[in-house]
């Protein structure tokens, strides 16, 4: 599904990613863990195509096609979805209008007609129920005045609507209480199938109790320094990141 090869990236001449290799197959859930400043969010931004980062080396392949030169919206059209750590506010644009625009732009890019209004409504109803979202919520301005939980639920709602091939969840658990965490994780689990893949980026192991990863990778100082199964997450939780550091030295 997604394969990243020898990825080097920098921002303002400071190298942040120093050769990342990652292979995610359809149907898999991967988790990337690491201390603050390891480059976790940089990695997710780069996969999504944020132009503030300069890719100096390496490639990002989606189903075998190099997407590293594509604009962010083109990557989105091909099935890359990023659940933002800090979703931005867009005043005056409702959740519904926003997602309608997004869906139809994707369809347009893929040579499809706009989605008929009744179909759209049905889909919105279905997916918002999955995320236990209030109907009123859909007419509010995007992320404006949303609580932390509402923002993250809205991200997963959009993911459900757009049905991406690869979903990257960037610190989706931050700022969530236990109920919201359960709803969000539940949503992700229901959306997961044999034809897509999920990349969870997190500092803590907490979210991984709900979204069980097949593989866990530890990112430190711009490199993946250790990979393993889900038990690695527990080990990290118990021993902390210093343990890895000392193991490496």
């Amino acid at each position: 599904m997604l394969s990243i090869k020898n990825l080097h990236a920098s921002v303002e001449d400071k190298e942040i990613l120093k050769g990342i290799n990652l292979e995610i197959k359809a149907g898999e859930v991967h988790a990337i863990m690491g201390p603050n400043g390891a480059g976790k969010s940089t990695l997710s931004s780069i996969i999504a195509g944020n132009e503030n980062y300069e890719v100096s080396e390496g490639e990002i392949l989606l189903e075998g096609e190099d997407i590293s030169e594509l604009a962010p919206e083109e990557r989105a059209h091909k099935g890359v979805f990023l659940s933002f750590q800090y979703p931005v506010e867009i005043p005056g644009v409702s959740v519904t209008n926003f997602i309608k625009t997004a869906i139809n732009e994707k369809r347009k890019a893929n040579g499809q007609e706009e989605m008929p209004a009744n179909e759209m409504l049905k889909l919105i109803r279905e997916k918002s129920e999955l995320l236990e979202m209030d109907r009123k919520f859909l007419s509010r301005s995007l992320n404006e005045g949303f609580s932390g939980g509402e923002k993250k639920r809205n991200e997963i709602f959009q993911m459900a609507m757009l049905e991406p091939k690869i979903a990257i969840l960037d610190e989706t658990d931050s700022g969530l209480d236990i109920d919201a965490l359960r709803i969000v994780a539940n949503g992700v689990n229901k959306l997961k199938n044999e034809n897509n893949a999920v990349l969870v980026i997190t500092h803590y192991q907490r979210l991984l109790d709900y979204i069980i990863p097949d593989f866990v990778h530890v990112l430190m100082d711009g490199k993946i320094v250790k990979s393993g199964g889900k038990e690695l997450a527990y080990e990290l939780e118990e021993k902390g990141y210093d343990w890895i550091k000392s193991e490496l030295n």
Partner: protein
């Protein structure tokens, strides 16, 4: 990598032709240029006006001669030479007693280009329309349907002839002849405009609309609108404007007077799209307009404007809240691009008790333009329990434009409650990236964000206008982010 960047958009936008910039070859009768008492008399005579009207014009002309052009606004331009303008131009075939069949086919062709159909199509939209080309009203639709309800909707020239007592009673009562430089000029030379009277207790069944068009070169347009909503009546009124693209600056100095008697409500919406000049700032309309309404007891006047055109705009639709419990509203979107300059806002003058006013102003500046909000909220000593809420937001696109806020807030009553807020922001790169990530291209993302920014005001427009206004916003601004 075929990437459409914001710079591409900017270029495309700058080169975007003004859609309404065509000129229609019409057989016109145009007065020689220049202004003096004889010209004023000639205009009056041409329109077969009664003596009192001629005298009123002369009085205004004499006052105007003593006045000087205001300079306090935050706009800079070469002052028009008032002796180089023709003050009367009329398409020759316009006949006051016209029916649609009599209308010059060239004129009809022009309307088509403007996207106006004055035939049945408008019936579906439920809009009655008066069309003013250059100085003269050329067609008023749906007169009969309206007449059944006792509603008078016609050009002001006709009204002066047919309802002189109504016109004489109200003309100049809200905007006196010597109110300001441009209002005085308008009072002297206005050639046409719309007149509307809604009788007591009548709810006007359709939107009334005037479409203004400057066609002829070297002319100024000075229309005068007088709208009277009698006790307990309601009317929604729309106004649209375009002009051909010309290298010269054309002057538009209109006066609009609204009178809302006890318990009446007037909703007045404008989509102003006069030619803004080219991207070097050459040409364009000088839009110097005085609009004011007066509210008697329990009356309400609501101004909504979408200002995207004109090279220079000087315009402050205002409400005098004279009657107790009256309400004034002002909702505005002003967009400036390239070298446009706008100094616009409102005045809410609270005289009666329990009066309320709301001001929502959204300014969007792009290119090298300057966009100013100027507003006055005045609570007089007797206006107990007056309330005002004002919100002025500015959006800057690029680093060569300016956004300015000049609110004046004056209260002489200790029971007044006033809240004023103003913010300035830009379209965030993070907002654009967020949209991109969801598959929305930059161009569309910006349109979406600007639309969201203007939502509160767009929502106030009548349906028929909202779509047009939204499109106009997109055309005026897409991708001006720098």
């Amino acid at each position: 990598m075929a990437k459409y960047t914001e710079d591409d958009l900017k270029v495309e936008l700058e080169n975007k032709e003004y859609e309404y910039g065509f000129y229609t070859e019409l057989d016109s009768e145009t007065f020689p240029i220049g202004l003096n008492e004889d010209i004023v008399r000639a205009i009056s005579k041409k329109k077969e006006e009664p003596q009192w009207m001629t005298d009123w014009r002369i009085e205004a002309f004499r006052a105007w001669q003593e006045m000087i052009e205001p300079e306090w606004a935050n706009v800079h331009y070469d002052k028009p030479d008032f002796q180089a303008i023709s003050y009367y131009s009329a398409p020759k075939k316009a006949d006051p007693n016209k029916t649609l069949d009599d209308v010059d086919p060239d004129l009809l062709e022009m309307y088509k280009k403007l996207g106006i159909s004055i035939d049945e199509q408008k019936k579906l939209n439920n809009v009655a329309m008066d069309i003013v080309v250059d100085s003269v009203s050329v067609a008023t639709t749906f007169k009969k349907t309206l007449a059944e309800k006792g509603i008078i909707f016609m050009s002001i020239s006709e009204a002066i002839r047919e309802y002189p007592e109504l016109v004489q009673k109200y003309l100049g009562t809200v905007v006196p002849q010597r109110d300001n430089f441009y209002a005085a000029l308008n009072s002297a030379v206005f050639s046409d405009g719309s007149f509307c009277y809604i009788p007591k207790g009548v709810r006007c069944p359709m939107e009334l609309s005037t479409y203004f068009r400057i066609n002829q070169a070297g002319t100024g347009q000075f229309e005068r609108t007088l709208l009277i909503a009698d006790e307990g009546s309601y009317v929604s009124y729309l106004e649209g404007c375009t002009a051909p693209s010309r290298d010269e600056n054309q002057l538009h100095a209109a006066v609009v007077e609204l009178i809302a008697l006890d318990d009446a409500e007037i909703k007045y919406s404008t989509v102003q799209n006069w030619y803004p000049g080219n991207k070097e700032g050459k040409g364009g309309v000088f839009n110097f307009v005085t609009k004011r309404g007066i509210c008697e007891k329990n009356a309400k006047i609501s101004w909504t404007q979408v200002e995207t055109g004109s090279a220079v705009t000087w315009k402050y639709p205002s409400v005098v809240l004279k009657g107790d419990n009256s309400i004034g509203e002002f909702y505005s979107i002003a967009v400036t691009n390239n070298f446009q300059q706008a100094d616009t806002g409102t005045k809410m003058v609270h005289l009666g008790k329990n009066t309320k006013s709301t001001i929502i102003s959204k300014g969007i500046s792009a290119g090298k333009s300057q966009n100013s909000y100027r507003g006055l909220v005045r609570i007089s000593a007797n206006a107990d329990n007056a309330r005002n809420f004002s919100q002025c937001d500015s959006l800057l696109m690029g680093n060569n434009c300016g956004a300015h806020t000049f609110p004046y807030i004056e209260s002489k009553n200790s029971s007044a409650k006033i809240e004023h807020e103003a913010t300035t922001s830009k379209i965030g790169e993070d907002q654009v990236f967020y949209c991109n990530q969801r598959g929305i291209p930059t161009e569309k993302a910006i349109a979406l964000i600007v639309n969201g920014f203007s939502k509160e005001v767009l929502n106030k427009l009548p349906m028929e206008f909202a779509v047009e206004a939204q499109k106009l916003l997109e055309i005026s601004l897409e991708g001006s982010v720098g």
